[in-house]
Symmetry: C2
Subunit: 159 residues, 2 copies
């Protein structure tokens, strides 16, 4: 089964046009140019046109993985920079590891924020539900506004 899969597997030394690579990863050519502008990719050139080799393809993969993980492009760039330093890749990896761990922390933080928000939301929801449960007693009286003021105050003062 070598021939049929040739185009897909065989981690090869192909070259890619910008839109080829873009399609493969489900991004737009604009994104690739943008990453290049941010010094995250450095494709070769054939005349004017960008020529992506598998080095660039690998870097793009890293970029997109890091993006999925929520890292800002600036941080991703630093990580990629470290990978280019060739010599002391241990320091590089330690740096990347550091950033990853930081990102774990911030993600945990964000998750806690979301959980807190969800709690507040559930409070608000059950309050609204209780309000709606009171089928509508003296709702046509103009004092309903003042009533809201009162209830809202009681509700919010402990929040």
């Amino acid at each position: 089964m070598p021939d049929t899969a040739t185009t897909v597997s065989a981690a090869d030394s192909r070259t890619y046009s910008i839109s080829e690579l873009a399609r493969e990863f489900g991004v737009t050519p604009r994104a690739l140019r943008f990453y290049e502008d941010k010094d995250m990719l450095h494709p070769a050139r054939d005349g004017m046109m960008r020529v992506y080799r598998n080095r660039d393809r690998a870097r793009l993969k890293v970029i997109l993985q890091c993006k999925r993980v929520g890292l800002p492009l600036a941080d991703i760039r630093e990580i990629l920079d470290l990978y280019g330093m060739d010599r002391n890749e241990r320091a590089q990896k330690r740096e990347a590891l550091k950033k990853f761990r930081q990102q774990v922390d911030t993600l945990h933080q964000q998750r806690d924020d979301i959980d807190a928000a969800l709690e507040e939301l559930h409070n608000g929801i059950s309050w609204l539900e209780s309000q709606l449960a009171i089928i509508g007693p003296a709702s046509d009286e103009a004092e309903s506004v003042a009533a809201y003021e009162q209830v809202a105050k009681a509700h919010m003062d402990d929040a």
Copy 2:
């Protein structure tokens, strides 16, 4: 204990200057003006100066609560608009309830995204750690780059 607490409790009919109210809620005056510009607050005027009464204070409280919950200002504005309609507050509350439930869904979605990101991060971290565990065999050989390429490929192809 009525006198001492007079300034704090006694849900009163005070008036607030913009910076008073801002300080009380830990936001900047600019934010309050911004909310007003977005028709979320409608303070009275004494000449040029904004005069906030407890109605506005309550609305601000709602705004900040909704913000904490992650609602965009546009949605918060709609919720506040509904509260102003006086008559049919049941429809209003149902609308708010709807938005709250929607927000619950999006927050759950975001949490799942974060969890997925955390998983990927943990994978990346343990990969980096394993790389660092190999105390550093032929790291001075120039082939370390190619080695990275290979390992990275193996790592990323299943991701």
